[in-house]
C-alpha cells in the first residue's frame, strides 16, 4: 500500500484535493471557490473566446459562468467530473449569449471571411493565424467548426445543442472549412 507519509512528503506544494475544494465551496467558502476558478478558467475562457470571437464578450460570459456555477454549486453532487459539469454550464451560457440576437448584430456580421493575415512562418504563428481565421468565421459556421473540429463533438450533438438540422450543421462545417482553407491558404 502507498503510505500516507509518502503523500505528506510532497504535501508542501500540493494543492488541495479538488473534491475537497468543491465541498468547501459548497458550504460557502469563497476562497475555495477562487481556487476552483483558477483551476478551470482557462478551459472555460477558451470555449467562450472561440465561440464568441470577441474578447470582451468572452470575459463577460466567462465571469457569468463562474457566478452561475457558484449559485448552482450544490446541484453538482460529485459523481460526474466537475470539469464536465462546468463545461456544460459554459455551453449553456454561451448559447444564451449567441441567441441574444440584439447584441449579436452589434458584434458579429454573418458575412464572408476577412482577408488573410501576415505571412505564416512558424508553427506558433500558424496557430495564431488559425485562431484569428476561426474568429473571422460567420457565427454559425464558427460554432459548428469549434465544436466539431476542435472540441470533437458529433453533428448530432451540435445540432441538438444549437437547435439546427443535422444537414445544416454539416453544411456549416463544410463552409467553415472552406473559408478557413481560403483564409489560411493551405
Amino acid at each position: 500500500m502507498v503510505s500516507s507519509e509518502l503523500l505528506m512528503e510532497k504535501a508542501g506544494y500540493l494543492e488541495k484535493d479538488a473534491s475537497d475544494l468543491i465541498a468547501e465551496a459548497q458550504s460557502g467558502n469563497q476562497a475555495a471557490f477562487e481556487e476552483i476558478y483558477r483551476l478551470h478558467v482557462g478551459r472555460v475562457y477558451a470555449i467562450c473566446l472561440r465561440i464568441l470571437a470577441d474578447r470582451s464578450r468572452a470575459d463577460e460570459v466567462a465571469q457569468q459562468v463562474f457566478v452561475r456555477a457558484w449559485i448552482k454549486l450544490c446541484s453538482f453532487r460529485g459523481e460526474s467530473s466537475f470539469a464536465s459539469w462546468l463545461y456544460r454550464l459554459s455551453i449553456n451560457m454561451i448559447l444564451d449569449e449567441l441567441n441574444s440576437s440584439k447584441r449579436e448584430s452589434a458584434h458579429i456580421q454573418d458575412s464572408g471571411p476577412v482577408t488573410p493575415g501576415s505571412h505564416v512562418e512558424t508553427a506558433h504563428n500558424l496557430k495564431l493565424d488559425l485562431e484569428k481565421a476561426i474568429s473571422s468565421l460567420p457565427k454559425q459556421a464558427r460554432a459548428v467548426f469549434v465544436w466539431h473540429d476542435i472540441e470533437g463533438w458529433k453533428h448530432e450533438e451540435i445540432a441538438g445543442t444549437m437547435g439546427l438540422a443535422i444537414g445544416t450543421c454539416k453544411a456549416q462545417l463544410s463552409r467553415a472549412r472552406r473559408i478557413l482553407r481560403e483564409v489560411l491558404g493551405t
Binding site: 500516507s4 475537497d20 450544490c74 460526474s80
Partner: protein
C-alpha cells in the same frame, strides 16, 4: 464520379461518415484526381492544426476581481441544506482521500448504493442538455451484483475449483458481458486480487493472480469481467499455460454458444491459434453486434506488436493499421466512455483518429478514480509527449502531466503498489529527479526496485565518469573500488536481479587486489540466478564466461557456459514463440548478438589459454570461433536474400563485425603459431 460530387461529400468522407461502398467510390476518385487529393490534403492539414489547438486559454487579465463581488452578492450557494447529513459526511470523507483501501472501497460502495447518489450520473462532456444542471443517466449502467465476500481459502491458495460447481454461467452474457466496464464492486475485487506476495517470482505471480481472479469469478456468479481479468493478467500472446486454455474450453463445452464464454475461450487462443481466435471473434461480432469486446480483441491482434507507428511491421503476420482502426472505432462506438483504447492507441497510424481519440481518452481519464484507469496514465503521457507535434503542444502537454500528477498524488492513498509506478514514471518524464528518487525509494515492487537501481546507476555513472583507457592504474583502481562499494546498495535493493551482481562481478574483475574467492563468489551468484531462470538475460551466460576468462579462473567451465548460454537463448525463444510472428522472425537466435557474445567469450578463452601456454586448448577455442563465423556468414546470406533489409544499416554493421572477426582470427592464428615456436 465528378469532382463536384466528390466535393459535396468530402467532409463526410473525411469524417468517415459515409457507408463503406460510398467511401470506396470516393477513394477510387481520389486515386485518379490530383485536384481532389490536394483538397483532401488541405483539409486534413487544417484538421490537424485545429486538433492541436490548446484546449485552455487564459484571459488577458484576471477575471476573479470582477467575479468576487457578484458571488458575494449572491450569498452562499443554493440548496446546500438539501442533502441528508449521512451522505454529506460520507462524501466529504471520501474527498479527504488519504485513507486505506478498505475505507475507499467502503465509501465507493456506499456512494454506489445510496439512493440519492444513484440518481446522479455523468455521461461525459459531449452530451449536453439545454436546461437544468442535472446530467442524464449513464450509459451502460450495470445491474447490481450481490455483495462481494472476498477471497476464500481456496482462492488464496490458488486452487481452481471444479468447473461444474453449480454457478449459473448463463449470467455471463445476460448481465455484464454486454457492458463496457466492470462495476465499482468488481473493480474493487480485481484491485484486491492484484496484491501479490512479493516473494513470488514474476513469472509465477501472474499465474497465481490469474487463478485467484478465476476463483473469485466463480464465487461471483461467473462475473464476465473477473473471468476476463483472469485472462488479461497472463503474459499473452505467449507463455500462457495450456491448462488456462483448457479451463475456458471446458467452460464453453458446458455452455456451448454462450457469447461471453466464447469470447473468453477465443481470447485464450491469442498467440497460440490466432486464426481460430480471429474466426471466433468475427463470428461473435456477426452474431452479437452489441457485444463490444471481440472488436477490442481484434484491434489488439491486428495491432500486434503494439509498437510506435514509425517502426517496421514486417514479420508480424496480422499487423494491419487499417484493421486496428476499424475495430477500435467499432469498440468505441459501443463503449464511448471506456478508457481501454489507450492500451492499443499506439498502433493507430491515422493522425486525425489518433489525436481525437487521444484527447477523448484524456477527457475520460481525468474523471476516473479507479486504479485500473489510473494505471493507464503513463501510456497516455507517452503518446501525448511523443506523437503530438510542435513546441506549443509539448508545453501544454507537460502542463497537463504536471496537473495529472498533482491529482494522482491526491488519489494515491490506499492504492496497490503498482500505483507508485504511475507516479514515478510521471515525475521521471517531467525531469523532477528529486521526487522521482523519493518515490522510487518507497516502491518495493519488482518494477520499482529495478527502476531505482537503473536510476541510481545512471546518476552515479554521470557523477563518476569511467576512467580513460590510458588512465593510471591508481585512477582505474579508485574508480572500480568506488563502483564496487556502490553495488552494495544496488544488491541490497534488488538482490534477485542478475544485472546488479553482474555489475559487482565486472568491478571485481578489474580489481586484482581483491581475493579470487570474492570474484568467483559473485560469479556463482550470477550463475545460480541465471539457472533459476527468473528475470535473467540468457546472454549473461556468455558475459560471465568472458569475465571468467579475462580473470583466468574456471577456464575449464567456460565452453559449457557458452553452450549453456546459447541453449538458454533458444529456450527463451521457444517460450516466447507465438503465431503472430513469421517463423524465425525477431527471435534472439535469429539475431547476431548471441553469436557475438559467444565469440567474445571464445576470444577471451583463447587469450587466457595462450597466456598460460595451453596451446591445444587455445586452438580448440579458435575452432569454436571459426564455427561461429560460419553462423555469421549464414545469417548475412539470409539477410541479403531478404530484399527488404538488403543494404540496410544493420547489414553493414554485421558485415563489418564479420570482417573484424576474420581479421582477429588471422592475427590469433599468427599468435598461436608464434607461441608454438
Amino acid at each position: 464520379m465528378k469532382c463536384a460530387d466528390f466535393v459535396d461529400r468530402m467532409d463526410d468522407y473525411l469524417d468517415l461518415a459515409l457507408p463503406q461502398s460510398e467511401q470506396q467510390n470516393l477513394e477510387a476518385h481520389l486515386a485518379e484526381c490530383v485536384d481532389c487529393r490536394e483538397r483532401v490534403r488541405s483539409i486534413k492539414s487544417l484538421l490537424c492544426q485545429s486538433a492541436a489547438l490548446p484546449k485552455s486559454i487564459n484571459p488577458d487579465h484576471d477575471l476573479w476581481p470582477a467575479i468576487l463581488p457578484k458571488i458575494h452578492a449572491a450569498g452562499i450557494p443554493q440548496t446546500n441544506i438539501a442533502r441528508p447529513v449521512r451522505f454529506q459526511w460520507s462524501w466529504r470523507l471520501t474527498a479527504v482521500v488519504v485513507a486505506g483501501a478498505a475505507l475507499v472501497l467502503a465509501a465507493t460502495l456506499f456512494l454506489t448504493h445510496h439512493p440519492e447518489s444513484q440518481s446522479i450520473s455523468s455521461s461525459g462532456s459531449s452530451v449536453l442538455r439545454k436546461t437544468g444542471e442535472e446530467l442524464p443517466a449513464p450509459r451502460g449502467q450495470q445491474p447490481r451484483l450481490p455483495a462481494i465476500t472476498g477471497t476464500t481459502e481456496s482462492a488464496k491458495n490458488g486452487i481452481v475449483p471444479s468447473e461444474d460447481s453449480g454457478a449459473s454461467i448463463g449470467r455471463v452474457m445476460n448481465s455484464t458481458a454486454c457492458q463496457c466496464e466492470p462495476s465499482a464492486e468488481i473493480l474493487g475485487v480485481v484491485e484486491n486480487a492484484l496484491l501479490v506476495d512479493e516473494s513470488l517470482p514474476d513469472s509465477r505471480s501472474a499465474e497465481v493472480v490469474s487463478d485467484r481472479l478465476f476463483n473469485l469469478a466463480r464465487e461471483n456468479e461467473d462475473d464476465f469481467f473477473l473471468l476476463k481479468s483472469s485472462l488479461e493478467v497472463l503474459p499473452f500472446p505467449s507463455r500462457v499455460p495450456d491448462s488456462v486454455r483448457d479451463r475456458y474450453r471446458r467452460l464453453l463445452l458446458q455452455h456451448p454458444g454462450e457469447a461471453g464464454l466464447t469470447y473468453l475461450y477465443a481470447f485464450s487462443l491469442y498467440g497460440k491459434n490466432t486464426p481460430e481466435m480471429i474466426r471466433l471473434m468475427k463470428q461473435l461480432i456477426a452474431e452479437n453486434p452489441s457485444f463490444p469486446w471481440p472488436n477490442f480483441a481484434l484491434a489488439k491482434v491486428y495491432g500486434f506488436p503494439n509498437m510506435p507507428v514509425d517502426m517496421s511491421r514486417s514479420g508480424y503476420i496480422y499487423n494491419d493499421p487499417n484493421k486496428v482502426q476499424t475495430y477500435l472505432r467499432a469498440f468505441m462506438e459501443l463503449c464511448p466512455e471506456s478508457p481501454e483504447p489507450i492500451r492499443i492507441l499506439i498502433s493507430v497510424t491515422d493522425p486525425l483518429f489518433f489525436s481525437s481519440t487521444l484527447s477523448h481518452m484524456r477527457e475520460l481519464l481525468v474523471t476516473r478514480t479507479d486504479t485500473r484507469s489510473l494505471l493507464m496514465y503513463p501510456a497516455l503521457w507517452s503518446m501525448e509527449t511523443t506523437r503530438q507535434a510542435g513546441d506549443a503542444v509539448a508545453n501544454q502537454t507537460w502542463q497537463w502531466v504536471s496537473a495529472d500528477l498533482k491529482r494522482l498524488l491526491s488519489l494515491a492513498g490506499g492504492r496497490p503498489p503498482e500505483f507508485l509506478s504511475v507516479l514515478w514514471s510521471g515525475y521521471r518524464g517531467m525531469g523532477d529527479m528529486e521526487t522521482l528518487r523519493i518515490l522510487l525509494a518507497k516502491d518495493t515492487s519488482i518494477e520499482g526496485r529495478s527502476a531505482f537501481v537503473a536510476f541510481d546507476t545512471q546518476e552515479w555513472s554521470a557523477n563518476n565518469p569511467a576512467p580513460a583507457a590510458d588512465a593510471t592504474v591508481q585512477t582505474k583502481t579508485a574508480y572500480w573500488e568506488k563502483r564496487l562499494q556502490r553495488t552494495d546498495i544496488w544488491i541490497k535493493k534488488a538482490p534477485e536481479f542478475t544485472f546488479v551482481w553482474m555489475d559487482r562481478l565486472k568491478s571485481l574483475s578489474e580489481l586484482k587486489n581483491h581475493p579470487e574467492t570474492e570474484f568467483t563468489g559473485a560469479g556463482e551468484k550470477v550463475l545460480s540466478l541465471l539457472r533459476g531462470g527468473a528475470d535473467s538475460l540468457s546472454l549473461d551466460f556468455m558475459k560471465l564466461a568472458t569475465l571468467y576468462a579475462n580473470r583466468g579462473v574456471r577456464l575449464d567451465q567456460i565452453p559449457s557456459l557458452i553452450r549453456e548460454g546459447l541453449a538458454a537463448v533458444e529456450k527463451r525463444d521457444l517460450e516466447n514463440a507465438n503465431d503472430l510472428k513469421s517463423p524465425g522472425f525477431n527471435t534472439e537466435m535469429g539475431r547476431f548478438l548471441p553469436w557475438q557474445y559467444a565469440d567474445d567469450a571464445w576470444h577471451a578463452l583463447f587469450d587466457a589459454y595462450l597466456r598460460i601456454a595451453e596451446i591445444d586448448r587455445a586452438r580448440s577455442a579458435l575452432d569454436e570461433v571459426e564455427k561461429g563465423m560460419t553462423e555469421w556468414r549464414n545469417k548475412i546470406a539470409t539477410m541479403q536474400a531478404n530484399t527488404q533489409v538488403n543494404n540496410s544499416y544493420s547489414l553493414l554493421i554485421v558485415t563489418d563485425g564479420l570482417l573484424a572477426r576474420e581479421k582477429w582470427l588471422n592475427e590469433a592464428r599468427g599468435r598461436l603459431a608464434l607461441k608454438k615456436k
